[in-house]
Amino acid sequence: MTQDFVTGEKVVDAVKDAVAETLSIEKDTIKPESSLINDLDAESLDFLDINYRIEQTFGIKMARHFILEHIEEMFGEGSAIDEDGKLTEKAVELLKIRLGEELPGITAGTDMDDIPAHITVQSIANGVMDILDTLPEKCSCGASAWASDDGAKVKCSSCGEPAAFTNGDDLSQEWLRKVQEEKKIF
């Protein structure tokens, strides 16, 4: 369900905190549209560090498989990436729906390793919000009494258990199934 315990602003702020701490830079220099690679010089270890920090902050599990991998698993070999490592037209269509924005420079035929440069503070925050919006109606104890003391971690105010959100990979697969059902892309 769409939750209102953690706001979009709080998520962007927490992502900025994670980026600032990981890269040892001033938080004020980070904008929602900042590309982690092109604008902030993040490297692969930094991506891991930032993701772990965000998971700890919100008590969630982000995806361990990129969406292109899920597309190929679900819709077959070559459905997302061709034999030269280039994105297919259908992969680009899905990426644009998923990221909910124009992706300048990303077209059919783009190298798949060009995608990480498009990861921004806002796109990470959007992914976190998608996971947070999988908050179940009820806790496993049966109570419908979610609460958040810090505006980040959601827990059951009846039994104290942390909320069990859908993990990022299951969410990606659910999303792909839904989009395929609605738009018949493959």
């Binding site: 270890l45 891991l48 070999e77 490592g85 990480p116």
Partner: protein
């Protein structure tokens, strides 16, 4: 005609150690059991983990796959050793599928350490389709 895919990566050992210390699941999520067993017996395990991380990242670059989070592909690229101690790459899962898709049939890896840095190069080869 042979097609060559090359990747190189350098890792700061202190930075890697710091992340390992702060995130409990990091080592087991990124490194395979055999890699952990090998590295943890060394005098400076983090230097060896850094070398393996660099090799995995170099292999990803050679495959044209950019890391963008906590990607399970890191577990699917395993750095093992021949009896002589020479490092070797084993690919599984998605990493193996990508290599097959690109027609890769040969692979070499080299790792080196000095001071606080580890560096690795990976060369993947295959017939150009």
């Amino acid at each position: 005609m042979i097609k060559i895919h090359q990747g190189v990566d350098m890792v700061n050992t202190s930075k890697l150690r710091d992340i390992c210390m702060r995130h409990e699941g990091f080592v087991s999520e990124i490194f395979t059991e055999r890699e952990r067993e090998y590295c943890m017996l060394k005098k400076n395990p983090y230097q060896h983990l850094a070398g393996r991380f660099a090799a995995k990242e170099a292999c990803l670059k050679a495959l044209g796959w950019g890391l963008q989070g906590i990607d399970s592909i890191m577990q699917e690229i395993e750095v093992l050793h021949s009896p002589s101690g020479k490092p070797e790459l084993q690919l599984k899962g998605w990493a193996r599928k990508l290599a097959t898709k690109f027609g890769i049939t040969g692979r070499t890896v080299s790792i080196s350490h000095s001071g606080d840095y580890a560096v690795s190069t990976v060369i993947l080869t295959g017939e150009k389709r």
